[in-house]
């Protein structure tokens, strides 16, 4: 980067003010706990900008998180927010959504929470096509608990519980989501902030089970132990290796260390939601009763 000649810059005023998204944040809990260079804050910001841009009434949004670094998202958004037990954000959201069908339910959780302990709930929520939006921040390991290997840790990945290199074949989350029947499947990295905002807006507007995977840096744990540099270096890695290919064959979307990987919107289909089908049955019963 060219070094700029130092020129005299008029000094900044010092005023009172607040971040444009502060209205959606529990400002008294900011600064948040996520590490320097972690991608979570960026993904949260993208979500808030999406909500703001859409003009969705925040009173009508419920954010449900599980346990883990991403799990803390629920604690920062100034909306109906639920920080549930590990892996159970989706069934919790299922109950809440079916009790409040007009609310937008956003499950914001991590790779471990949604696909290890919560994996069974994920595939069934997708299978049912519940109208729930899942934002899965995939930082390739369990960050909160100190950097253990997780279901998406790449082969050879060094973690506190895979000190000799992970040899378990990781999930390809978008492939799992698609094969479980998710009607909307996309993957971006935390560098692609405008595309993230676009994807989140698409999810919030459409009906049915929507899944967005966001690859994000975890400098403190996975990045450090696997010599990926700091958060910025990981973003540079995304810039070099993330290749946009909308509608790609999901079999090609695996993430292999050091190699290019595909991002984009892979699936976007309309399918009747669980609630629509449930209401359909209720309507049938009503008709039969009336006749």
């Amino acid at each position: 980067m060219p070094v700029k000649a130092k020129r005299q810059v008029p000094p900044p005023e010092v005023v009172q003010g607040q971040h444009p998204m502060e209205k959606y944040l529990r400002a008294d809990r900011i600064p948040h706990i996520w590490c320097a260079g972690c991608g979570l804050g960026t993904v949260l910001a993208s979500f808030l900008y999406a909500v703001d841009d859409l003009g969705v009434d925040p009173d009508g949004i419920a954010v449900i998180s599980g346990i883990g670094c991403t799990g803390r998202v629920a604690g920062y958004v100034r909306m109906d927010s639920y920080h549930t037990t590990h892996g159970r954000a989706l069934p919790f959201a299922t109950g809440l959504k079916l009790a409040q069908p007009d609310m937008k339910a956003v499950v914001f959780s991590g790779d471990g929470d949604l696909f290890a302990i919560g994996g069974n709930h994920f595939i069934h929520a997708a299978r049912r096509n519940l109208d729930i939006n899942v934002i899965c921040v995939n930082n390739l390991n369990y960050g909160m608990t100190g950097g253990q290997a997780g279901p998406t840790t790449p082969l050879g990945g060094r973690c506190t519980t895979s000190p000799y290199g992970n040899f378990e074949h990781p999930f390809n989350l978008v492939h799992v989501a698609a094969s479980a029947g998710a009607a909307y499947v996309a993957r971006w990295t935390s560098l692609d902030v405008r595309r993230l905002q676009g994807a989140i807006q698409e999810m919030l507007v459409r009906k049915g089970f929507s899944f967005l995977e966001v690859i994000a840096p975890c400098p403190t744990n996975y990045g450090r132990r696997n010599k990926l540099g700091d958060g910025l270096d990981e973003l540079h890695h995304y810039a070099e290796h993330a290749v946009i290919k909308h509608g790609a064959d999901l079999a090609d979307t695996e993430i292999l260390p050091g190699q290019d990987f595909l991002v984009g919107k892979f699936i976007d289909e309309e399918k009747p939601t669980y609630w629509e089908m449930y209401q359909g049955k209720v309507a049938e019963l009503e008709d039969r009763r009336r006749r």
Binding site: M1, P2, K4, K6, R7, V9, P10, P12, E13, V14, V15, Q16, G17, Q18, H19, P20, M21, E22, L25, A27, D28, I30, P31, H32, W34, C35, A36, G37, C38, G39, L40, G41, T42, A45, S46, Y49, L191, V193, R194, Q197, D230, G231, L232, L235
Partner: protein
Amino acid sequence: MTAQRTHEIKRWRVPKGRICVQEDLCKGCGFCIDYCPRQVLEDAEHFNAKGYHPPRVIDPDECIMCRYCELICPDFAIWTEPLDEEEAQEEGQDAG
């Protein structure tokens, strides 16, 4: 940072608006500085309350209000305020 957080911000005039930095929220990740397409930002020399170097504006004329710094910042520490119409006219005469 358990003390009550102040909302004190430094605000630089840039031709198309203002760049706002709430210094004490910055964790020095460098995203905004690195990804600003016009190299408008740089690490400040001083440290913030947490011991990080917050960003400071070193080339205001270059800022094109692309807002990437604002969108990529993980800590809600930097954002932009586009000029409203009259300010923009006023700006127009100065620049003209």
